[in-house]
């Protein structure tokens, strides 16, 4: 029996790490942090979690320590946010290319400068091409569930890739939500112990992270690309089995009142839930609008997105990050690329908003949708608009 409790989402992640029976947690809680690693430190100190807690000297070292732990076959976890992620950036690529299935939660925050501790997706988008499996969560329950799924997916023999669960800084990390906490025995039934197939072992020496001259490097990158794409069926299967165990089912693209919708709004993370209130209000006025939420960011769910937008005339994509000087928000550019070859595709309108913790209220979402419809009709040439910025 699971136990439904009111708990801060950050603290629920610590509980998820405990339920996953992690072996090693390496962390350097650089400001701005959350309660995640703080609570894990307490769990380890109290003897509630039998794990090594490594208080390292930087986020770069936190990821490096997880890398080493994972290489000997330990289940490794860390949590970071914003600037901390930027400091561990170099090692993110190493973890994915070495196929070490570390799980990390990332409290999505804006990046300096100016200094901001508030939420947006600038940090998330900075790790877009690092080769990690990337899931976005819309609420606290989804965060806990997907941390458990992340271990299952990452450690699957057919996958063996690090996995990050993105959750919005403050909007999720610092709110208390009712969350069903599964029993440890139930989680054990879903998440088997981790066994790395080729661990570092003095009796059977292997070389990890060797160098690759030009005659082999491209082959390694092709293998990495194929491996990441091949993770998708495992992700779908893991979500299905999670649903069978716990009754909550997840999919790469969630839709809300999208049936028959002529105008769709696509968001990621916690704004997906706020947007549904705007959809309800516009539907009440007779407008055929719906919402999509992209949960699986890497590997990208090409087919699911193509299916989800079929029949829509307008697709408004909200990005919470700017690709400066580029063709719009990173999510919108990718959606455009994915739909480019479709014979019939909606007019795509890019909106950048919610930067650095600026709120987007349900009525703001109504404005965004109405403005998106207007732009689609006037055929505006600009690549994207920044919502709510004072002129």
């Amino acid at each position: 029996m699971s136990n439904r409790v009111g708990i801060e989402v950050s603290r629920a992640i610590a509980v998820a790490a405990k339920l996953a029976r992690v072996d090693v947690v390496a962390a350097y809680p650089i400001t701005p942090q959350t309660h995640i690693v703080e609570d894990i430190a307490e769990l380890v100190a109290n003897g509630e979690l039998d794990a090594s807690y490594v208080p390292v000297e930087s986020e770069h070292s936190a990821m490096s320590a997880c890398l080493g732990a994972s290489a000997v076959g330990a289940r490794a976890f860390t949590a970071t946010a914003g600037q901390g992620l930027e400091l561990m950036h170099e090692v993110l690529y190493v973890a994915s290319a070495m196929q070490l299935p570390i799980v990390m939660s990332l409290a999505n925050r804006a990046l300096s400068s100016p200094l901001s501790i508030w939420g947006d997706h600038s940090d998330a988008m900075s790790m877009r091409d690092t080769g990690w499996i990337q899931l976005f969560a819309a609420n606290g329950q989804e965060v806990l569930d997907n941390i458990l799924c992340a271990f299952r997916i990452a450690e699957d023999r057919k996958v063996l890739l690090p996995t990050v669960v993105h959750l919005d800084g403050f909007h999720l990390t610092h709110v208390i939500e009712p969350i069903s906490i599964p029993e440890p025995s139930e989680v054990d039934g879903f998440l088997p112990p981790f066994n790395y197939p080729l661990p570092l072992d003095p009796d059977k020496p292997v070389t990890m992270g060797a160098f690759a001259p030009p005659y082999i490097y491209p082959e390694t990158k092709k293998a990495q690309q194929v491996n990441l794409l091949a993770a998708k069926p495992v992700i779908l299967q893991s979500w299905k089995e999670f649903g069978d165990h716990f009754g909550r089912y997840y999919s790469p693209v969630e839709s809300y009142r999208a049936e028959g919708a002529k105008v769709l709004l696509l968001t990621m993370g916690s704004y997906s839930e706020t947007a549904t209130l705007a959809i309800d209000s516009l539907r009440k006025d007779g407008k055929m609008v719906g919402a999509l939420s992209l949960r699986l960011w890497r590997p990208f769910p090409f087919e699911e997105i193509r299916q989800a937008v079929k029949g829509a005339d307008v697709l408004i994509v909200l990005d919470r990050a700017v690709s400066f000087g580029g063709p719009g928000g990173p999510v919108c550019s990718e959606i455009k690329a994915v739909l480019y070859d479709e014979a019939r595709r909606p007019k795509i309108v890019g909106v950048v908003g919610g930067l650095g913790g600026r709120d987007i209220s349900p009525s703001d979402f109504v404005s965004i949708i109405n403005r998106g419809i207007e732009i689609s009709q006037t055929g505006s040439e600009q690549e994207f608009e920044m919502f709510g910025v004072r002129e």
């Binding site: 070490l100 197939p197 001259p213 082959e219 293998a223």
Partner: protein, 97 residues
């Protein structure tokens, strides 16, 4: 390893490009980085072994006669042996390949 490294396809690679064979660096030819090779004048050489000690590649070994030869499969042509030789017995000679 059955195939030479330069013939491996992406499908042949281990998980995370792990190498399960040990000592694979032995098969890596660093000699083709070289533009000049060390040539020893055995009349000047007194077999002191300073070249052997200073070689950063560790590719210099003593032969049966007691002289020191650079293994040209690995020698990168850095010239440290020639610079360190107390009797100036080693000359770096341009190579054409």
């Amino acid at each position: 390893m059955a195939k030479a490294e330069c013939e491996l396809t992406w499908k042949d690679l281990e998980i995370g490009v792990i190498l399960t064979d040990v000592g694979t660096a032995r098969g890596y030819r660093t000699g083709d980085w070289r533009s000049r090779k060390p040539v020893t004048d055995n009349d000047k050489c007194n077999k002191c072994g300073m070249c052997f000690l200073f070689c950063p590649e560790g590719c210099i070994q003593q032969n049966e006669e007691g002289f020191f030869d650079a293994n040209l499969f690995y020698c990168k042509g850095c010239g440290i042996c020639a610079a360190e030789c107390p009797r100036k017995a080693i000359t770096m000679v341009e190579e054409e390949r």
